[in-house]
Protein backbone atom coordinates (compact mmCIF):
# COMPACT_ATOMS: atom_id res chain seq x y z
CA UNK A 1 0.00 0.00 0.00
CA UNK A 2 1.56 3.30 -1.04
CA UNK A 3 1.36 6.54 0.95
CA UNK A 4 -1.44 8.01 -1.13
CA UNK A 5 -3.82 5.06 -0.79
CA UNK A 6 -2.90 4.83 2.89
CA UNK A 7 -3.88 8.42 3.49
CA UNK A 8 -7.10 7.85 1.52
CA UNK A 9 -7.96 5.00 3.88
CA UNK A 10 -7.29 7.20 6.90
CA UNK A 11 -9.46 9.94 5.40
CA UNK A 12 -12.24 7.44 4.72
CA UNK A 13 -12.03 6.04 8.25
CA UNK A 14 -12.27 9.55 9.74
CA UNK A 15 -15.16 10.41 7.44
CA UNK A 16 -17.05 7.22 8.30
CA UNK A 17 -16.56 7.85 12.04
CA UNK A 18 -17.84 11.38 11.66
CA UNK A 19 -20.81 10.50 9.47
CA UNK A 20 -21.84 7.72 11.87
CA UNK A 21 -21.57 10.03 14.87
CA UNK A 22 -23.52 12.85 13.26
CA UNK A 23 -26.27 10.60 11.87
CA UNK A 24 -26.73 8.43 14.96
CA UNK A 25 -28.90 10.59 17.13
CA UNK A 26 -30.20 9.03 20.33
CA UNK A 27 -33.80 9.36 19.11
CA UNK A 28 -33.03 7.43 15.94
CA UNK A 29 -31.19 4.64 17.76
CA UNK A 30 -33.86 4.25 20.44
CA UNK A 31 -36.60 4.37 17.80
CA UNK A 32 -35.07 1.50 15.83
CA UNK A 33 -34.36 -0.53 18.96
CA UNK A 34 -38.01 -0.24 19.99
CA UNK A 35 -39.26 -1.02 16.47
CA UNK A 36 -36.99 -4.07 16.24
CA UNK A 37 -38.18 -5.35 19.61
CA UNK A 38 -41.81 -4.92 18.61
CA UNK A 39 -41.27 -6.73 15.32
CA UNK A 40 -39.61 -9.68 17.05
CA UNK A 41 -42.34 -9.91 19.72
CA UNK A 42 -45.06 -9.83 17.06
CA UNK A 43 -43.22 -12.52 15.07
CA UNK A 44 -42.92 -14.68 18.16
CA UNK A 45 -46.66 -14.31 18.88
CA UNK A 46 -47.60 -15.11 15.29
CA UNK A 47 -45.15 -18.00 15.23
CA UNK A 48 -46.79 -19.66 18.24
CA UNK A 49 -50.03 -20.17 16.29
CA UNK A 50 -50.59 -23.29 14.16
CA UNK A 51 -50.24 -23.02 10.35
CA UNK A 52 -50.20 -25.48 7.44
CA UNK A 53 -47.27 -23.74 5.71
CA UNK A 54 -44.74 -22.36 8.21
CA UNK A 55 -42.37 -21.47 5.37
CA UNK A 56 -44.95 -19.22 3.75
CA UNK A 57 -45.60 -17.61 7.11
CA UNK A 58 -41.88 -17.01 7.59
CA UNK A 59 -41.65 -15.39 4.15
CA UNK A 60 -44.70 -13.22 4.79
CA UNK A 61 -43.27 -12.03 8.11
CA UNK A 62 -39.91 -11.33 6.49
CA UNK A 63 -41.69 -9.27 3.84
CA UNK A 64 -44.01 -7.35 6.17
CA UNK A 65 -41.58 -6.73 9.02
CA UNK A 66 -38.24 -6.62 7.24
CA UNK A 67 -38.43 -5.82 3.55
CA UNK A 68 -41.48 -3.56 3.72
CA UNK A 69 -40.74 -1.88 7.02
CA UNK A 70 -37.43 -2.06 8.88
CA UNK A 71 -35.08 -2.34 5.89
CA UNK A 72 -36.44 0.59 3.85
CA UNK A 73 -37.15 2.79 6.87
CA UNK A 74 -33.71 2.26 8.42
CA UNK A 75 -32.12 2.89 5.04
CA UNK A 76 -34.24 6.00 4.55
CA UNK A 77 -33.50 7.49 7.97
CA UNK A 78 -29.76 6.84 8.00
CA UNK A 79 -29.20 7.10 4.24
CA UNK A 80 -30.71 10.56 3.96
CA UNK A 81 -29.03 11.67 7.19
CA UNK A 82 -25.37 11.21 6.24
CA UNK A 83 -25.20 13.75 3.40
CA UNK A 84 -28.76 15.08 3.31
CA UNK A 85 -28.68 16.56 6.81
CA UNK A 86 -25.34 18.37 6.23
CA UNK A 87 -26.61 19.63 2.86
CA UNK A 88 -29.79 20.93 4.51
CA UNK A 89 -28.09 22.63 7.46
CA UNK A 90 -25.14 23.96 5.42
CA UNK A 91 -22.49 21.91 7.24
CA UNK A 92 -21.64 19.92 4.10
CA UNK A 93 -18.96 22.53 3.48
CA UNK A 94 -16.90 20.99 6.30
CA UNK A 95 -16.58 17.79 4.25
CA UNK A 96 -16.72 19.24 0.77
CA UNK A 97 -14.11 21.99 0.93
CA UNK A 98 -11.27 19.57 1.57
CA UNK A 99 -8.69 18.04 -0.75
CA UNK A 100 -10.57 14.76 -0.73
CA UNK A 101 -11.77 12.81 -3.77
CA UNK A 102 -15.53 13.01 -4.22
CA UNK A 103 -15.69 9.24 -4.59
CA UNK A 104 -13.99 8.90 -1.18
CA UNK A 105 -16.62 11.19 0.32
CA UNK A 106 -19.38 9.27 -1.41
CA UNK A 107 -18.22 5.79 -0.43
CA UNK A 108 -17.53 6.92 3.13
CA UNK A 109 -21.03 8.36 3.44
CA UNK A 110 -22.60 5.18 2.04
CA UNK A 111 -20.54 2.95 4.34
CA UNK A 112 -21.42 5.09 7.36
CA UNK A 113 -25.12 4.84 6.54
CA UNK A 114 -24.74 1.08 6.11
CA UNK A 115 -22.98 0.74 9.47
CA UNK A 116 -26.19 2.07 11.02
CA UNK A 117 -28.89 0.76 8.71
CA UNK A 118 -27.73 -2.85 8.21
CA UNK A 119 -27.82 -3.84 11.90
CA UNK A 120 -31.09 -1.94 12.39
CA UNK A 121 -32.71 -4.05 9.65
CA UNK A 122 -30.81 -7.33 9.48
CA UNK A 123 -30.58 -8.23 13.18
CA UNK A 124 -34.36 -8.02 13.69
CA UNK A 125 -34.90 -9.86 10.39
CA UNK A 126 -32.68 -12.69 11.62
CA UNK A 127 -34.36 -12.73 15.03
CA UNK A 128 -37.80 -12.89 13.40
CA UNK A 129 -36.77 -16.02 11.52
CA UNK A 130 -35.15 -17.49 14.61
CA UNK A 131 -38.26 -17.19 16.78
CA UNK A 132 -40.41 -18.87 14.14
CA UNK A 133 -40.70 -22.68 14.30
CA UNK A 134 -38.81 -24.33 11.41
CA UNK A 135 -36.44 -21.46 10.71
CA UNK A 136 -35.33 -22.66 7.29
CA UNK A 137 -35.66 -19.17 5.77
CA UNK A 138 -33.10 -17.61 8.05
CA UNK A 139 -30.28 -17.77 5.53
CA UNK A 140 -32.32 -16.44 2.62
CA UNK A 141 -33.97 -13.90 4.91
CA UNK A 142 -30.67 -12.47 6.04
CA UNK A 143 -29.21 -12.40 2.52
CA UNK A 144 -32.32 -10.80 1.01
CA UNK A 145 -32.65 -8.22 3.77
CA UNK A 146 -28.95 -7.36 3.69
CA UNK A 147 -28.90 -6.85 -0.07
CA UNK A 148 -32.14 -4.88 0.07
CA UNK A 149 -30.99 -2.59 2.85
CA UNK A 150 -27.69 -1.94 1.04
CA UNK A 151 -29.49 -1.03 -2.19
CA UNK A 152 -32.03 1.13 -0.37
CA UNK A 153 -29.35 2.88 1.66
CA UNK A 154 -27.17 3.97 -1.25
CA UNK A 155 -30.28 5.17 -3.10
CA UNK A 156 -31.34 7.23 -0.10
CA UNK A 157 -27.84 8.70 0.31
CA UNK A 158 -28.25 10.00 -3.24
CA UNK A 159 -31.80 11.16 -2.51
CA UNK A 160 -30.56 13.13 0.50
CA UNK A 161 -28.16 14.97 -1.74
CA UNK A 162 -30.54 15.81 -4.57
CA UNK A 163 -33.67 16.84 -2.66
CA UNK A 164 -34.41 19.16 0.20
CA UNK A 165 -37.19 17.16 1.87
CA UNK A 166 -35.60 13.80 1.36
CA UNK A 167 -37.56 12.03 4.11
CA UNK A 168 -40.85 13.04 2.52
CA UNK A 169 -39.70 12.06 -0.97
CA UNK A 170 -38.33 8.78 0.40
CA UNK A 171 -41.60 7.88 2.12
CA UNK A 172 -43.49 8.75 -1.06
CA UNK A 173 -41.16 6.46 -3.05
CA UNK A 174 -41.61 3.60 -0.58
CA UNK A 175 -45.39 3.88 -0.58
CA UNK A 176 -45.89 4.45 -4.29
CA UNK A 177 -43.16 2.40 -5.95
CA UNK A 178 -42.40 -0.31 -3.43
CA UNK A 179 -45.91 -0.97 -2.17
CA UNK A 180 -48.10 -0.06 -5.12
CA UNK A 181 -46.26 -0.01 -8.45
CA UNK A 182 -44.25 -3.12 -7.54
CA UNK A 183 -47.45 -5.19 -7.67
CA UNK A 184 -48.10 -4.20 -11.28
CA UNK A 185 -46.22 -7.03 -12.97
CA UNK A 186 -42.60 -7.82 -13.69
CA UNK A 187 -41.96 -4.72 -15.84
CA UNK A 188 -43.04 -2.33 -13.11
CA UNK A 189 -41.65 -4.65 -10.47
CA UNK A 190 -38.21 -4.22 -11.98
CA UNK A 191 -38.26 -0.72 -10.43
CA UNK A 192 -38.72 -2.19 -6.96
CA UNK A 193 -35.92 -3.25 -4.66
CA UNK A 194 -38.44 -5.16 -2.57
CA UNK A 195 -39.40 -7.22 -5.63
CA UNK A 196 -35.81 -8.37 -6.08
CA UNK A 197 -35.41 -9.09 -2.38
CA UNK A 198 -38.65 -11.06 -2.22
CA UNK A 199 -37.55 -12.98 -5.32
CA UNK A 200 -34.51 -14.14 -3.37
CA UNK A 201 -36.66 -14.96 -0.36
CA UNK A 202 -39.27 -16.85 -2.39
CA UNK A 203 -37.01 -19.17 -4.34
CA UNK A 204 -38.62 -22.20 -2.63
CA UNK A 205 -41.66 -23.69 -4.45
CA UNK A 206 -43.56 -23.67 -1.15
CA UNK A 207 -43.27 -19.88 -0.86
CA UNK A 208 -45.27 -17.40 -2.91
CA UNK A 209 -45.10 -13.65 -3.11
CA UNK A 210 -47.07 -11.22 -5.27
CA UNK A 211 -43.85 -9.36 -6.13
CA UNK A 212 -41.40 -12.25 -6.61
CA UNK A 213 -40.94 -11.94 -10.37
CA UNK A 214 -37.26 -12.68 -10.83
CA UNK A 215 -34.75 -15.46 -10.46
CA UNK A 216 -32.43 -15.45 -7.47
CA UNK A 217 -29.35 -14.80 -9.61
CA UNK A 218 -30.97 -11.90 -11.48
CA UNK A 219 -32.11 -10.39 -8.19
CA UNK A 220 -28.69 -10.66 -6.58
CA UNK A 221 -26.98 -9.17 -9.64
CA UNK A 222 -29.39 -6.24 -9.86
CA UNK A 223 -29.08 -5.39 -6.17
CA UNK A 224 -25.29 -5.62 -6.29
CA UNK A 225 -25.19 -3.41 -9.41
CA UNK A 226 -27.35 -0.80 -7.65
CA UNK A 227 -25.00 -0.91 -4.67
CA UNK A 228 -22.01 -0.42 -6.96
CA UNK A 229 -23.35 2.25 -9.32
CA UNK A 230 -25.22 4.60 -7.02
CA UNK A 231 -22.14 5.68 -4.99
CA UNK A 232 -20.59 6.76 -8.30
CA UNK A 233 -23.70 8.85 -8.95
CA UNK A 234 -23.38 10.32 -5.44
CA UNK A 235 -19.75 11.27 -6.20
CA UNK A 236 -20.81 12.88 -9.49
CA UNK A 237 -23.53 14.80 -7.68
CA UNK A 238 -21.04 15.94 -5.03
CA UNK A 239 -18.71 17.13 -7.78
CA UNK A 240 -21.48 19.26 -9.28
CA UNK A 241 -23.02 20.38 -6.00
CA UNK A 242 -23.56 24.00 -5.08
CA UNK A 243 -22.55 24.06 -1.45
CA UNK A 244 -24.07 26.60 0.91
Amino acid sequence: MNAVSGSALLEAAELIRTFVRTAASRARLVGFAVAAALVVVVAWRVGSSVTVNPLQRAADLADVAGLSFLAPVAALVFGTAVLGDPADDSTLVYFWLRPVRRITLSISACLAALVLAVPAAVIPAALVQMVLPGNSLIFRGVIATTLAVIAYTVLFVLLGLVTNRSLVWGIAYLLIVEQFIARGGSALGSLSIRAYAMSIMSASPRVESPVAYFSTSTSVVVLVVIAAIVPVAVAWRLHRAEVA
Partner: protein, 317 residues
Protein backbone atom coordinates in the same frame (compact mmCIF):
# COMPACT_ATOMS: atom_id res chain seq x y z
CA UNK B 1 -4.95 12.20 -3.18
CA UNK B 2 -1.64 13.48 -4.56
CA UNK B 3 -0.85 17.06 -3.53
CA UNK B 4 -1.09 19.78 -6.14
CA UNK B 5 1.28 22.73 -6.57
CA UNK B 6 0.44 26.36 -7.18
CA UNK B 7 0.89 27.49 -10.77
CA UNK B 8 4.04 29.62 -10.83
CA UNK B 9 3.25 33.32 -11.14
CA UNK B 10 -0.52 32.86 -10.86
CA UNK B 11 -2.42 35.09 -8.44
CA UNK B 12 -3.52 33.43 -5.23
CA UNK B 13 -7.16 34.12 -6.03
CA UNK B 14 -8.37 35.50 -9.35
CA UNK B 15 -11.83 36.30 -10.60
CA UNK B 16 -12.12 37.26 -14.25
CA UNK B 17 -15.41 38.71 -15.52
CA UNK B 18 -17.30 36.54 -13.06
CA UNK B 19 -21.07 36.75 -12.91
CA UNK B 20 -23.45 34.65 -10.88
CA UNK B 21 -27.16 34.39 -11.50
CA UNK B 22 -29.65 32.62 -9.28
CA UNK B 23 -32.81 31.79 -11.23
CA UNK B 24 -32.27 34.76 -13.49
CA UNK B 25 -31.49 37.17 -10.62
CA UNK B 26 -28.01 38.68 -10.79
CA UNK B 27 -26.13 38.15 -7.51
CA UNK B 28 -22.70 39.12 -8.84
CA UNK B 29 -22.05 40.97 -12.06
CA UNK B 30 -18.85 40.97 -14.10
CA UNK B 31 -16.50 40.96 -11.15
CA UNK B 32 -12.82 41.06 -11.98
CA UNK B 33 -10.13 41.15 -9.34
CA UNK B 34 -6.91 39.50 -8.26
CA UNK B 35 -6.29 38.97 -4.58
CA UNK B 36 -2.84 38.36 -3.22
CA UNK B 37 -1.01 38.33 0.10
CA UNK B 38 -2.31 40.44 2.96
CA UNK B 39 -5.80 41.13 4.21
CA UNK B 40 -8.46 42.02 1.67
CA UNK B 41 -11.89 43.03 2.88
CA UNK B 42 -15.08 42.75 0.90
CA UNK B 43 -17.19 45.60 2.17
CA UNK B 44 -20.83 46.11 1.32
CA UNK B 45 -24.34 46.18 2.68
CA UNK B 46 -26.39 43.04 3.19
CA UNK B 47 -27.38 41.59 -0.17
CA UNK B 48 -24.48 43.26 -2.00
CA UNK B 49 -23.09 39.90 -3.11
CA UNK B 50 -20.16 39.58 -0.68
CA UNK B 51 -20.96 36.05 0.43
CA UNK B 52 -21.57 34.97 -3.15
CA UNK B 53 -18.16 36.31 -4.16
CA UNK B 54 -16.54 34.40 -1.30
CA UNK B 55 -18.38 31.22 -2.31
CA UNK B 56 -17.30 31.74 -5.92
CA UNK B 57 -13.72 32.36 -4.86
CA UNK B 58 -13.71 29.05 -2.94
CA UNK B 59 -15.44 27.11 -5.69
CA UNK B 60 -18.44 26.37 -3.51
CA UNK B 61 -20.63 27.58 -6.33
CA UNK B 62 -19.74 27.70 -10.04
CA UNK B 63 -19.82 31.03 -11.85
CA UNK B 64 -22.59 31.50 -14.42
CA UNK B 65 -20.01 33.31 -16.53
CA UNK B 66 -16.33 34.05 -16.15
CA UNK B 67 -13.40 32.24 -14.62
CA UNK B 68 -12.31 31.64 -11.01
CA UNK B 69 -8.82 30.43 -10.19
CA UNK B 70 -7.07 29.51 -6.95
CA UNK B 71 -3.29 29.46 -7.41
CA UNK B 72 -3.99 29.06 -11.12
CA UNK B 73 -6.36 26.09 -10.75
CA UNK B 74 -10.11 25.84 -11.26
CA UNK B 75 -11.46 24.89 -7.81
CA UNK B 76 -14.60 23.33 -9.26
CA UNK B 77 -12.63 20.75 -11.20
CA UNK B 78 -9.65 20.31 -8.92
CA UNK B 79 -10.55 19.61 -5.26
CA UNK B 80 -6.85 19.14 -4.48
CA UNK B 81 -6.56 22.93 -4.59
CA UNK B 82 -8.48 23.05 -1.30
CA UNK B 83 -5.31 22.17 0.53
CA UNK B 84 -4.50 25.86 0.07
CA UNK B 85 -7.82 27.07 1.47
CA UNK B 86 -9.24 27.53 4.95
CA UNK B 87 -12.84 28.73 5.06
CA UNK B 88 -14.78 30.26 7.94
CA UNK B 89 -18.34 30.05 6.65
CA UNK B 90 -21.00 32.50 7.70
CA UNK B 91 -23.56 29.98 8.93
CA UNK B 92 -23.55 29.25 12.64
CA UNK B 93 -24.31 25.54 12.36
CA UNK B 94 -21.52 23.13 13.10
CA UNK B 95 -21.50 19.33 12.99
CA UNK B 96 -23.91 17.79 15.54
CA UNK B 97 -22.73 15.44 18.30
CA UNK B 98 -19.17 16.61 17.75
CA UNK B 99 -16.68 18.17 20.12
CA UNK B 100 -14.48 21.05 19.03
CA UNK B 101 -11.43 18.77 19.04
CA UNK B 102 -13.17 16.19 16.83
CA UNK B 103 -14.33 18.98 14.52
CA UNK B 104 -10.90 20.52 14.07
CA UNK B 105 -9.11 17.17 13.96
CA UNK B 106 -11.43 16.06 11.14
CA UNK B 107 -10.39 19.14 9.17
CA UNK B 108 -6.73 18.42 9.84
CA UNK B 109 -7.06 14.77 8.84
CA UNK B 110 -8.88 15.60 5.60
CA UNK B 111 -6.25 18.20 4.77
CA UNK B 112 -3.56 15.60 5.18
CA UNK B 113 -1.94 17.26 8.20
CA UNK B 114 0.80 14.96 9.52
CA UNK B 115 -0.26 15.06 13.18
CA UNK B 116 -3.90 16.12 13.03
CA UNK B 117 -4.61 15.83 16.76
CA UNK B 118 -1.60 17.89 17.75
CA UNK B 119 -2.41 20.47 15.07
CA UNK B 120 -6.05 20.57 16.21
CA UNK B 121 -5.05 21.16 19.84
CA UNK B 122 -2.71 23.99 18.80
CA UNK B 123 -5.36 25.53 16.58
CA UNK B 124 -8.00 25.41 19.32
CA UNK B 125 -5.62 26.93 21.85
CA UNK B 126 -4.86 29.71 19.37
CA UNK B 127 -8.53 30.72 19.45
CA UNK B 128 -8.76 30.24 23.23
CA UNK B 129 -10.91 27.12 23.21
CA UNK B 130 -10.22 24.22 25.52
CA UNK B 131 -9.24 21.16 23.45
CA UNK B 132 -10.22 18.90 26.34
CA UNK B 133 -13.76 20.29 26.53
CA UNK B 134 -15.97 17.16 26.22
CA UNK B 135 -19.09 19.12 25.34
CA UNK B 136 -20.85 18.83 22.02
CA UNK B 137 -20.40 22.09 20.08
CA UNK B 138 -24.19 22.53 19.83
CA UNK B 139 -24.05 23.56 23.51
CA UNK B 140 -21.52 26.32 22.71
CA UNK B 141 -22.30 30.01 22.59
CA UNK B 142 -22.28 31.74 19.21
CA UNK B 143 -18.84 33.14 19.90
CA UNK B 144 -17.40 29.76 20.87
CA UNK B 145 -18.81 28.16 17.73
CA UNK B 146 -17.30 30.99 15.69
CA UNK B 147 -13.91 30.35 17.25
CA UNK B 148 -14.19 26.61 16.55
CA UNK B 149 -14.96 27.44 12.91
CA UNK B 150 -11.89 29.65 12.77
CA UNK B 151 -9.75 26.92 14.35
CA UNK B 152 -10.79 24.36 11.71
CA UNK B 153 -9.96 26.88 8.98
CA UNK B 154 -6.45 27.44 10.31
CA UNK B 155 -5.53 23.88 11.29
CA UNK B 156 -3.63 23.09 8.08
CA UNK B 157 -1.86 26.45 7.83
CA UNK B 158 -3.54 27.39 4.55
CA UNK B 159 -2.10 30.03 2.23
CA UNK B 160 -5.61 31.38 1.58
CA UNK B 161 -8.02 32.08 4.43
CA UNK B 162 -11.56 33.07 3.52
CA UNK B 163 -13.73 34.33 6.36
CA UNK B 164 -17.33 35.41 5.90
CA UNK B 165 -18.11 37.96 8.63
CA UNK B 166 -15.44 36.45 10.94
CA UNK B 167 -16.07 38.80 13.85
CA UNK B 168 -19.74 37.89 14.19
CA UNK B 169 -20.60 36.71 17.67
CA UNK B 170 -17.24 37.55 19.22
CA UNK B 171 -16.98 39.78 22.26
CA UNK B 172 -14.78 42.91 22.04
CA UNK B 173 -11.68 41.21 23.46
CA UNK B 174 -12.06 38.22 21.16
CA UNK B 175 -12.68 40.54 18.21
CA UNK B 176 -9.50 42.38 18.94
CA UNK B 177 -7.57 39.14 19.23
CA UNK B 178 -9.11 37.75 16.07
CA UNK B 179 -8.24 40.88 14.15
CA UNK B 180 -4.64 40.61 15.39
CA UNK B 181 -4.55 36.95 14.32
CA UNK B 182 -5.87 37.62 10.81
CA UNK B 183 -3.63 40.66 10.34
CA UNK B 184 -0.64 38.59 11.44
CA UNK B 185 -1.56 35.86 8.96
CA UNK B 186 -1.80 38.49 6.24
CA UNK B 187 1.57 39.94 7.14
CA UNK B 188 3.07 36.43 6.89
CA UNK B 189 2.22 36.52 3.18
CA UNK B 190 -1.02 34.60 3.38
CA UNK B 191 -4.05 35.75 1.44
CA UNK B 192 -6.75 36.62 3.96
CA UNK B 193 -10.14 37.52 2.51
CA UNK B 194 -12.84 38.72 4.88
CA UNK B 195 -16.27 40.18 4.38
CA UNK B 196 -17.97 42.79 6.46
CA UNK B 197 -20.65 45.44 6.29
CA UNK B 198 -19.00 47.60 8.95
CA UNK B 199 -16.39 50.09 7.74
CA UNK B 200 -14.88 50.67 11.18
CA UNK B 201 -14.40 46.92 11.57
CA UNK B 202 -12.61 46.77 8.22
CA UNK B 203 -10.56 49.79 9.23
CA UNK B 204 -8.97 47.78 12.02
CA UNK B 205 -7.70 45.16 9.57
CA UNK B 206 -5.70 47.88 7.75
CA UNK B 207 -6.70 46.03 4.64
CA UNK B 208 -7.21 46.58 0.99
CA UNK B 209 -10.94 47.10 0.52
CA UNK B 210 -13.18 45.92 -2.28
CA UNK B 211 -16.46 47.78 -1.96
CA UNK B 212 -19.44 45.86 -3.32
CA UNK B 213 -22.90 47.13 -4.00
CA UNK B 214 -25.74 45.52 -5.91
CA UNK B 215 -23.51 42.64 -7.02
CA UNK B 216 -20.87 44.89 -8.55
CA UNK B 217 -17.42 45.98 -7.54
CA UNK B 218 -18.10 49.63 -6.70
CA UNK B 219 -14.67 50.80 -5.54
CA UNK B 220 -11.23 49.50 -4.65
CA UNK B 221 -8.69 51.01 -2.29
CA UNK B 222 -7.58 51.20 1.28
CA UNK B 223 -9.89 52.39 4.03
CA UNK B 224 -8.63 55.98 3.73
CA UNK B 225 -9.59 56.02 0.07
CA UNK B 226 -13.06 54.74 0.92
CA UNK B 227 -13.40 57.38 3.62
CA UNK B 228 -12.40 60.05 1.09
CA UNK B 229 -15.14 58.80 -1.19
CA UNK B 230 -17.54 59.03 1.73
CA UNK B 231 -16.48 62.60 2.40
CA UNK B 232 -16.83 63.57 -1.27
CA UNK B 233 -20.46 62.61 -1.43
CA UNK B 234 -23.24 65.05 -0.50
CA UNK B 235 -24.37 64.52 3.09
CA UNK B 236 -28.10 64.78 3.71
CA UNK B 237 -29.18 66.39 6.96
CA UNK B 238 -32.64 66.94 8.43
CA UNK B 239 -33.36 70.14 10.37
CA UNK B 240 -36.48 70.31 12.54
CA UNK B 241 -37.64 73.91 13.01
CA UNK B 242 -40.75 75.99 13.72
CA UNK B 243 -40.07 78.27 10.71
CA UNK B 244 -38.98 75.98 7.89
CA UNK B 245 -39.71 78.31 4.99
CA UNK B 246 -37.82 81.28 6.39
CA UNK B 247 -34.86 79.23 7.60
CA UNK B 248 -34.67 77.39 4.26
CA UNK B 249 -34.40 80.68 2.40
CA UNK B 250 -31.68 81.89 4.77
CA UNK B 251 -29.68 78.69 4.44
CA UNK B 252 -29.87 78.70 0.66
CA UNK B 253 -28.31 82.15 0.69
CA UNK B 254 -25.23 80.90 2.59
CA UNK B 255 -23.98 78.92 -0.42
CA UNK B 256 -23.24 75.82 1.67
CA UNK B 257 -25.98 73.65 0.19
CA UNK B 258 -26.20 71.62 -2.98
CA UNK B 259 -29.82 70.67 -2.38
CA UNK B 260 -32.80 71.50 -0.18
CA UNK B 261 -36.27 70.08 0.26
CA UNK B 262 -39.08 71.13 2.57
CA UNK B 263 -40.79 68.13 4.16
CA UNK B 264 -43.52 67.71 6.78
CA UNK B 265 -40.76 66.91 9.30
CA UNK B 266 -38.72 70.05 8.51
CA UNK B 267 -35.96 70.84 6.03
CA UNK B 268 -33.85 68.17 4.32
CA UNK B 269 -30.62 69.69 3.05
CA UNK B 270 -27.70 68.25 1.10
CA UNK B 271 -24.20 69.62 1.58
CA UNK B 272 -20.70 68.63 0.53
CA UNK B 273 -19.16 70.75 3.28
CA UNK B 274 -20.60 69.59 6.57
CA UNK B 275 -18.13 71.56 8.71
CA UNK B 276 -18.99 74.89 7.11
CA UNK B 277 -22.70 74.15 7.17
CA UNK B 278 -22.49 73.35 10.88
CA UNK B 279 -20.84 76.72 11.52
CA UNK B 280 -23.52 78.77 9.76
CA UNK B 281 -26.76 76.98 10.62
CA UNK B 282 -27.08 78.21 14.23
CA UNK B 283 -26.28 81.81 13.28
CA UNK B 284 -28.80 81.82 10.46
CA UNK B 285 -31.47 80.39 12.76
CA UNK B 286 -30.83 83.13 15.29
CA UNK B 287 -30.87 85.78 12.59
CA UNK B 288 -34.32 84.75 11.26
CA UNK B 289 -35.63 83.97 14.76
CA UNK B 290 -36.22 80.27 14.07
CA UNK B 291 -35.84 77.67 16.79
CA UNK B 292 -34.22 74.38 15.89
CA UNK B 293 -35.65 71.14 17.36
CA UNK B 294 -33.24 68.70 15.78
CA UNK B 295 -30.34 68.35 13.40
CA UNK B 296 -29.62 64.80 12.34
CA UNK B 297 -27.86 63.07 9.47
CA UNK B 298 -30.19 61.18 7.19
CA UNK B 299 -27.66 58.93 5.55
CA UNK B 300 -24.69 58.52 7.81
CA UNK B 301 -24.58 54.80 7.14
CA UNK B 302 -22.76 52.56 4.73
CA UNK B 303 -25.86 51.84 2.69
CA UNK B 304 -25.94 55.46 1.53
CA UNK B 305 -22.22 55.39 0.78
CA UNK B 306 -22.68 52.30 -1.35
CA UNK B 307 -25.64 53.90 -3.12
CA UNK B 308 -23.50 56.93 -3.79
CA UNK B 309 -20.58 54.86 -5.06
CA UNK B 310 -22.88 53.03 -7.43
CA UNK B 311 -24.13 56.36 -8.81
CA UNK B 312 -20.64 57.81 -9.41
CA UNK B 313 -19.33 57.02 -12.91
CA UNK B 314 -16.53 54.42 -12.70
CA UNK B 315 -13.95 56.77 -14.17
CA UNK B 316 -14.44 59.19 -11.29
CA UNK B 317 -13.57 56.63 -8.60
Amino acid sequence: MKPIDAVHGAPMVALDQVSKLYRGVVAVSEMTCEIGPGVTALLGPNGAGKSTVLRLACGLTPPSRGVVRIHGHDPRNEPRVYRFVGLVPQQERVLPRTTALQFVELAGRLHGVAEPRIAAIASLEAVELDPADPRDMSTYSKGMRQRAKIAQALVNGPSIIVADEPLNGLDPRQRSRMIDTLVALGSQGRCVIISSHVLDEVDRFESRVLVMAQGRLAAVGDVNRIRELMDDRPHRIRIGTDRPGVLATALMATGTLVGLQLTPEGIDVATTDVARFARVVAGEARRVDASIDEIRPLDDDLESVFRYLMEVPRGDR
